[in-house]
Amino acid sequence: MKILLVEDDLDLGNGIRVALRDEDMEVVWVRRIEEATRALQSGTCDLVLLDLGLPDGDGLGLLMQMRRERHKTPVLILSARDALDDRLNGLDSGADDYLVKPFVLAELLSRVRALVRRSYGFDDGTVEVRGLTLHEPTRRVRVRSAPVALSRSEFELLSLLMRRVDRVITRRVLEEQLVPGGMVNESNVLEVHISNLRRKIGDGYIRTVRGVGYVIDQAEQPLTARP
């Protein structure tokens, strides 16, 4: 896994480089937009970690240029700015994710892996969590290599949860997925679907955050979630 790190702060850049290298990732570390542009042109990388405030310009400029040139490499923004507008601005400019400094190493690793997985999805489309695999193009789902038959809605829900592993997907988003634009008021359509899904793929994958939404955790959870 090859990662292009664009970060001007010496200690932070070096820290990230060392930490990612320890996880067996190959890191190319540059400190200027100019160098980053050159690195992007000269070779392929799986992911760009992008700081926004760089000495020779704004990281967002680089990002927009990349997207204009149809560079599909996923970009994870590392920024000290955490206001909603800053995040939205970053995502609107074409970033795939946004991480606010200071971040926990585990979270950085998790997001890096998720993004790289997704980028592999362009040719492969397989997402895998603890023996549960989902193949997007063929819409096939397997639990420990045993195929599972899912309805269309169930597949959409699972795909949504697996693509954004470790993050809670709110009920509102999931309901929107089930009944686009419609109101799912006063009904338990979502619960029914999730419960069917659990029955088919087995317990222990989908964790409920009551009243909030559902999440699939990358790592096995010590706590057994209440249904």
């Binding site: 702060d9 820290g15 000290a80 190493l105 709110t170 009920r171 955050v209 009551r210 955790d217």
Partner: protein, 472 residues
């Protein structure tokens, strides 16, 4: 505040407090009274000195009668008496006969005629001079003239004491009456006109008094009057300087906080990379955990500072967006559940109603929810549950966040809202800014916040926030 003070004051005291209206009114009336007094004084002096004693014709008439009839004393006396009566009528006051001029006539040093009630010992020491004489216990004003043809002398005499002054005042009432009558009539129009003229002034002061302590927007009052314009302009300039300096200060703090994040991130990633080494001894691991805890604390402090700055920047704009609280809660809890999960705490959201909308500022409400939930998570025991409830009561949205932690002593519940206050037996790291931020957000939205004990028999804290629902 000032209204409350005024209400406590006794009523009479309010009347003794100086006001501009009263000052102007007093000034006007005093000037008017002074003017009138001067005029009346002039009239009186003139009445005293000129009317009678400048009356050369009167002297001439008396002298010629006395001279022409000198050889016929009876006729002379009768004629003089008739002249005396005429003089009294012409110069005196019918109502106050005592104040009328009296006539004394001497011929060859002998008194030939004297009005009634005048002492016959009155003598001027010099001719043609108005003198004030003291005769028989009274003051008199008298002037004597001598005929150029004979030794006939005529004196015109009027009483001159305090009583006479009062009587003169009374008798010349027509000078004073307009003043006395007009003063009350002048007061009302004067007061009205002053009130009217000062209305723009009152409008300005009402507007200034009505603003909140943190409202730094320019005055809406449009000053068209030359006297008010400098005032309004300087108030506006002051407001602008204040808000600029507040914004500068906010930006400075925000910039400093942002700048701090990169080095904190660097410390963090380096420590974590170090922690990942397998060669560490237990002791070294422990020390590194201490470093990480401090980093967490610094991180949170920086985050809180930014939220505080953002929510006070929001304050300038105010709640301006109709936000569905249930959606906001779902989004925030989805984000915060990672932290809760890492601590082994379960989050749950119970909403009884959908689409509860409040007029709010998104950043402010977000930091309010984040702070409340982060706090509850932090103080929860392992495997504890943090419950967030959203319900509707009349025209209010009621948000409660309860945990199963140690709670807060009733005695300390007010103080936890102070900035940088932390409960004394604190084990958790924290900035002491969280609840201060929450409170400022709640107040900005016109809501209330209360701390209590969570239901379910434990000691857990329950925070209840009430926000008015958006209209329509």
């Amino acid at each position: 505040m000032s209204a409350a003070v005024a209400a406590r004051e006794p009523r009479w005291k309010r009347w003794t407090r100086p006001t501009l209206v009263r000052r102007l009114l007093l000034g006007q009336v005093a000037t008017l009274a002074l003017l009138w007094s001067v005029l009346v004084g002039l009239f009186l002096v003139e009445a005293f000195n000129q009317d009678l004693y400048g009356a050369t014709d009167a002297y001439d008439a008396v002298l010629s009668v006395a001279e022409n009839l000198a050889d016929r004393p009876t006729l002379q006396h009768a004629s003089l008496q008739a002249l005396d009566v005429a003089l009294r009528e012409a110069y005196g006051d019918k109502n106050e006969p005592a104040m009328a001029p009296s006539v004394l006539v001497w011929q060859a040093g002998r008194l030939v005629y004297k009005s009634d009630g005048v002492p016959d010992t009155i003598r001027n020491s010099r001719l043609d001079t108005l003198e004030r004489l003291f005769v028989e216990g009274r003051y008199w004003r008298a002037s004597t003239r001598q005929s150029p043809l004979s030794d006939t002398r005529v004196a015109l005499v009027t009483p001159s004491d305090r009583k006479q002054l009062i009587v003169t005042f009374n008798s010349r009432g027509y000078y004073l009456m307009p003043l006395i009558i007009s003063i009350p009539f002048l007061l009302l129009p004067a007061w009205l006109s002053i009130r009217l003229a000062l209305r723009p002034w009152r409008e300005v002061s009402t507007e200034i008094a009505a603003r909140g302590p943190k409202d730094l927007t320019p005055l809406g009052f449009e000053a068209r009057h030359a006297e008010l314009r400098p005032l309004v302009e300087s108030v506006n300039a002051l407001m602008q300087r204040l808000s600029e300096s507040a914004a500068r200060e906010r930006n400075f703090i925000a910039d400093a906080a942002h700048e701090l994040r990169t080095p904190i991130a660097a410390i963090r990633i380096n420590v974590e990379a170090l922690q990942a080494q397998h060669r560490l001894t237990e002791h070294q691991g422990e020390l590194l955990s201490g470093v990480l805890r401090s980093i967490d604390r610094a991180t949170r402090l920086v985050g809180q500072l930014l939220r505080l700055m953002r929510s006070s920047a929001d304050m300038d704009v105010g709640p301006n967006e109709k936000l569905a609280l249930d959606e906001l809660l779902q989004d925030r809890l989805a984000t915060l559940s990672g932290l809760a999960q890492a601590r082994g705490v379960e989050l749950e959201l119970v909403t009884t109603e959908r689409d509860l909308r409040v007029l709010g500022a998104r950043e402010g409400l977000t930091s309010m929810v984040d702070n409340l939930v982060e706090n509850a998570t932090k103080y929860s025991p392992p495997a504890g549950v943090v419950t967030v409830r959203l319900a509707r009561e009349a025209d209010q949205a009621v948000l409660t966040v309860s945990d199963q932690g140690p709670g807060i002593d009733a005695a300390l519940r007010e103080r936890v809202f102070d900035r940088f206050f932390r409960t004394p037996d604190q084990l958790q790291t924290g900035s002491g800014l969280g609840l201060a931020i929450v409170k400022s957000v709640v107040e900005k939205h016109g809501g209330q916040i209360a701390l209590g004990v969570a239901e379910g028999g434990g000691s857990g804290l329950q925070v209840t926030v009430r926000l008015p629902l958006a209209q329509g």
